[in-house]
């Protein structure tokens, strides 16, 4: 059995055990479209796919798809020959193009996977949909809110599938976590924390100086919105899930080029605060010159905390102690404490040592250091779901809405950090 099949089997198994009777599944309707039953229905059929953009992320998807029996790579496209050659070596039967419009004219392509720089997403996605191709576009969806709206409207006018590269949507532990949140396990949601720390310059090796902006497009403002669209976009969906679909109404932020002063134009550290209508704040912080805390996503409740990345829930109640332990602790405190100086208002409230309760078995913990994609982060499942959707032509429910909000929040977050101002977030979908 191939590795991907094992992974998918595990995914279905863990998903099945988690979502059976889950009240939170209503918030994750796209998962009901990716099932073993669906696999049986489309058995023997393949999605003929073309990949536009065969850089690191494109090749990551290509490698996963080559292991997926429901996918057939029929075309590849990149205007940077070394990347195209590397991809072609992995999929020698695929036709190669240097112009994506030529690929879109290829009748043997049912669906396209767009893994190009952010500023190209909108044009390519709209062209692909208009050309009648089912489309998967990497996150963030768009470079501007206006482009985002145009993409969504183009999709709404068509009968094609549109999916976006947000792999957390297919990570079962998020379903279980949200079931706990919505079931009241952590009480009232009082805060949402997201952070992503790395210690690397985010650069890729450049064969010649003239390719700098093409290869390191993430570092330049003409093609990228930096950390907000590349990293925050993944994490900002957590807030909507935890808050029952309610989206933030405002965002403020700050950022700077602090450490990597190498000619880049996007910030190497950002901090943004999104506020919900009821006053709850969701934070996102990213620094790429310190990796100690790695990647983290936490839902803070009045009675507990959920660590989404590790799949662990912590209680606000102190760890239950035996009567004898409590007595000894009280005696110890009576002997050692000095009432003149050790009043509670002086005591530092250090973090809890509670080891918490793991709510999902076999959690794959990623530290967020990979700049391409990590094992077990939902990417394989997401690609398989796209193959299913291409074969059936059925749009997974609410997936574009999720991507719309994540992208809009990250774009407005980026603007707030650049303008150092507070922005209002428009409510409602544009369609």
């Amino acid at each position: 059995m191939s590795m991907d099949k094992m992974t998918r089997k595990d995914f279905f198994a863990s998903l099945g055990s988690i979502v059976a009777g889950s009240t939170a599944l209503a918030a994750f309707p796209w998962l009901t479209a990716c099932t073993p039953e669906q696999d049986r229905l489309i058995k023997g059929e393949t999605a003929r796919l073309g990949i536009i953009g065969t850089g690191s992320r494109g090749r990551f998807h290509l490698a996963n798809l080559l292991l997926d029996s429901s996918a057939k790579i029929t075309a590849l496209c990149d205007d940077f020959p070394p990347h195209l050659e590397e991809a072609a070596a992995l999929a020698p039967e695929a036709r190669c193009y240097s112009d994506y419009r030529k690929l879109l004219e290829d009748p043997e392509v049912d669906g396209v996977i767009i893994c190009t720089p952010l500023n190209l997403h909108a044009r390519m996605t709209i062209d692909a949909i208009v050309a009648g191709k089912h489309t998967f576009v990497e996150k963030a969806m768009a470079y501007t809110p206006e482009e985002l709206t145009e993409m969504c409207l183009a999709w709404r006018r068509s009968d094609r599938v549109l999916m976006v590269g947000q792999q957390r949507l297919y990570d079962p532990k998020y379903v279980k976590a949200m079931e706990l949140v919505h079931g009241g396990a952590i009480g009232e949601v009082v805060g949402i924390r997201n952070y992503w720390y790395r210690n690397n310059d985010w650069r890729r090796e450049v064969p010649a100086p003239e390719h700098e902006r093409r290869i390191n497009w993430r570092l330049y403002s003409a093609s990228s919105r930096g950390l907000m669209t590349e990293l925050a976009c993944h994490q900002l969906a957590n807030g909507g899930w935890a808050m029952g679909g309610i989206q933030p109404v405002s965002v403020c932020g700050n950022g700077s080029i602090l450490f990597w002063k190498d000619g880049r134009e996007v910030f190497d550290n950002v901090a943004a605060i999104f506020q919900y209508p009821n006053g709850v704040n969701m934070t996102f912080e990213s620094i790429i010159s310190n990796k100690h805390f790695g990647m983290g996503e936490q839902i803070l409740g009045s009675q507990g905390t959920i660590d989404l990345v590790r799949g662990v829930m912590y209680s606000e109640e102190s760890i239950p102690r035996s009567g004898l332990e409590q007595l000894l602790r009280q005696i110890e405190q009576g002997i050692l404490s000095n009432s003149a100086f050790a009043g509670t208002s002086w005591a530092t409230e250090t973090a809890s040592n509670d080891k918490g309760l793991r709510f999902v078995d076999h959690v794959v913990v990623n530290d967020g250091a990979s700049t391409v994609g990590a094992t077990g982060d939902g990417s394989v499942e997401l690609m398989h779901a796209f193959c299913q959707a291409v074969i059936t032509g059925a749009q997974p429910e609410k997936i574009v809405e999720e991507a719309y909000w994540s992208t809009l929040l990250s774009l407005l977050g980026d603007r707030a950090t650049r303008e150092k101002t507070m922005l209002e977030i428009p409510g409602g979908l544009p369609w």
């Binding site: 035996s322 009567g323 004898l324 332990e325 409590q326 007595l327 000894l328």
Partner: protein
């Protein structure tokens, strides 16, 4: 080196002392269970802490007797 002889009566006294200390430790555990409203099975599950309290009480008892002995000696000399 001179052989030390511990009479059977001394051994018996010390064993009784240890048993009394253990009994007191169990009673302390029981008292704390009642006071802090914790489950009664802690009588068994907290046996480790009970043994620690037993040792503390026994050492305290030894120190107390040593102190009394020293005070007595001091008075005798005087």
């Amino acid at each position: 080196m001179k052989d030390l002889t511990i009479p059977a009566s001394r051994v018996r006294t010390e064993l009784w002392s240890l048993a009394v200390c253990f009994g007191i430790a169990v009673l302390i555990n029981l008292g704390s269970i009642i006071y802090y409203h914790t489950p009664f099975y802690e009588i068994f599950t907290q046996i480790g802490y009970t043994v620690v309290v037993t040792v503390i009480l026994y050492v305290a008892w030894i120190l107390l007797r040593l102190l009394v002995l020293l005070i007595r000696k001091a008075f005798r000399k005087a």
